[in-house]
């Protein structure tokens, strides 16, 4: 049995008096799209930061591809593509600077694929990142997250505040990524209809604790009320929104 892509065990994280993550245990197997949903401040981003190795686990363990992301950032981050709501690309870079700079870090960078994505998204090579619209910045972030065909694509609220066309691009990227055999997507979002469209496994987090983590079909069946098969939105309100 191959190692899970992500294995989090008993992860707890506190910021002062606030417990952001409380004994979180989560396993994500290779392949498929995993949706991570929860209210604001539930701990989704903190969990993703631990997966990326940007925060050290105070207690518990985090393993990504069987490695510790804090002690082996090179081995872990080179296999992850990441896009977040808080697009923090350096505004002073031009699009081609960003691509050239990012390429240096990923041995598997595919120039042709990067160029295909850039032209598909209509990004001008000479444009500075700071002059791009929010949607174009998200597209630029998507180019550098996908161009090396990462084994794990991490999307942290990627489409919040974006127009429907950019959201469609992001969803298409998710689908394209999973179409490549063996790749995995972890998709955190408030837009539950989007998660419902693409996720085949959903994890709900509430006040730092995992409340549900199962295949989407199983969750829906478990909440079936007679003939009515509830939407993810209804299940979310029932399990998390009632907090």
């Amino acid at each position: 049995m191959p190692d899970p892509v992500i294995s989090v065990s008993g992860l707890t994280r506190r910021f002062g008096a606030k417990t952001a993550l409380d004994s979180v245990t989560l396993t994500i197997e290779r392949g498929g799209v995993y949706g991570l949903v929860g209210a604001n401040g539930a701990g989704k981003t903190t969990l993703i930061k631990h997966i990326l190795g940007l925060l050290r686990a105070e207690s518990g363990t985090v393993r990504v591809f069987g490695r510790d992301p804090v002690s082996d950032p090179q081995g872990v981050l080179s296999r992850i593509g990441y896009l977040s709501e808080e697009n923090d690309l350096p505004g002073w870079m031009r699009v081609d600077d960003l691509i050239r700079y990012s390429k240096a870090f990923y041995p598997g960078w595919d120039d042709a694929y990067a160029e295909e994505l850039r032209t598909t998204f209509g990004l001008d090579n000479a444009a500075k990142i700071k002059t791009l619209s929010k949607g174009q910045k998200a597209r630029a972030g998507l180019v550098i997250a996908l161009a090396y065909r990462p084994e794990l694509l991490l999307l942290d609220e990627p489409s919040s505040g974006l127009d429907p066309i950019v959201r469609r691009d992001i969803l298409a990227a998710v689908i394209r990524t999973i179409a490549d055999e063996g790749r995995t997507v972890l998709f955190s979002s408030h837009l539950l209809d989007e998660v419902e469209q693409v996720a085949d496994h959903v994890t709900m987090i509430r006040q730092g604790r995992i409340v549900v983590s199962a295949p989407l079909g199983e969750i829906k069946e478990a909440h079936r009320s007679g003939e009515h098969l509830p939407s993810l939105d209804e299940i979310f309100v029932a399990r998390v929104g009632a907090a």
Binding site: L54, P73, Q74, G75, D88, P90, W92, D96, A104, F105
Partner: protein
Amino acid sequence: MSTPAAAIAWEFRTRHRWGLIAIAAYLVVLAVCRVRLSAAPEYHSVDTFAFFVVVPLTATFIYFLAVFSYGHGGDLAGRQSIFPPRMFTLPVSDTALAGWPMLFGTIVMALLWLATRVLALWPKGAEVPTVWPALLAASLLAWTQALTWMPYPLPGMRVILTILWLASIDAIVLVALHYRAHEWMMLGILAPNLPLAFFVARYAVGRARRGGASSVLGPQSSVLRSEDRGPRTEDFRSPARAQFWFEWRMYGRTLPALVAVLLPFELAMLWIYAEVPPLVYEMLGGILLTPPFMAAFVAPAASAAMTPFIARRPVSGGSLIAAKLKAAAASTAVAWQMVLIATPLALHFSGTMHIAMAPVDLLIDVFGAPRAIVLLLLAFLGLIASTWKQLVQSLCIGMSGRPWLVKGSVFATLCAITMLGLGFGWIVTDAHRFSVAWNAIPMVVAAAAVVKVIAAIFVISRLRTPNQLLIGVIGWNVVVFALFAILNWSVPGLLLSSGFLLFLSILEVPLVRLAAIGMWNRCG
């Protein structure tokens, strides 16, 4: 809160309530001391006044400067205005945005002076002014507000302009005091500052509100656009090169740019003061201290915590830090290259070379040519290393990403400088104290070196990478002993003991601070 003015006042009061409570408590203590101790003559000495009034009130003054100029939340070394951007969307005029904080600051500074005048135990025979110190404090605050709220084309320019301008006001006041100017004269000199500063502040806020920070030499530079339009450069050969390029473009060019701006003015002074050797020496000292001095202002921006974008680079934390250290080294090298090329040329063409060489000849006479050359090289290398050290030594604090630690370290440094300054004055004015302090220097240096070694052991024990740890320890020892050997050879033991030089060598090598950078999370 029915008016914008009341809301702005409420924000100052609420956000800084603990600081204001501490200051009020201090003033109460001062009042109690005034009532209880005013009859005792020993409490009216200059020393007592310095420790119980000057130090706390200087700290309070600096605190108010930070509070009313919004210096707590802004990037002083950056180009953008430090006026809080969230306030730009308030439905009030530029006049109100700039005016109310300025008015509140003026009132508070006036009250601070009033309280000091009434409550402090002034030294016997001191002529206590009536009003003008309040006006001086308010003027300094008003100009600090105006100049720090202004957007600038260059990073670090805010700090330079503000220091120069405030120092000019201080110089005018000192000249006036030297000539024993009357209270009315002082008021006449200082009063125009408030309206002038207000007009500048209103313009600054208006400009910042409408996005007026255009860069000249920053990464977004308009000057550099033509270069940017040139042919695309080749791919980076390694992640380390890409990361070095990033650090250089982000922070590396700022120090050379600042030195390039200041250096011509400083060198021009060599022509102006060519006939006055003491001033030539002062100017040379100023020129040689420009890179380390400017580096201190560039360091906060370069030492900021890694952004998530950088923290996600698939390289080790050590590689990311190494890129910062290399970019700082390149920045230092370029800045010093300008100084080391331009200064001898300026000395030659201004006809002041013989003045500059006189101390070198004296050094050769005293120590002999080889030792004198080594000492001079050591001095230059020390200045160059000190520039690099200024750029990187606060990385261990800045990269923690903890604002309280960054601000706390700045406050602690300011307090330490104030205390050291006052302590120095207290020591040198008394022969006995001076003698005791002089004899204690080796012990102080030894104690500091021991503290540093203990800190090194603590920091190194918390690092998780044994190989880097071993390389670091070996490297540190090599550098310390090399420095010790050079010092021991070039400074004869008759002048300074070997033990003293060893401790000095330990203190000079910044191992602990550099090692501590790796202790934090990648993203703060």
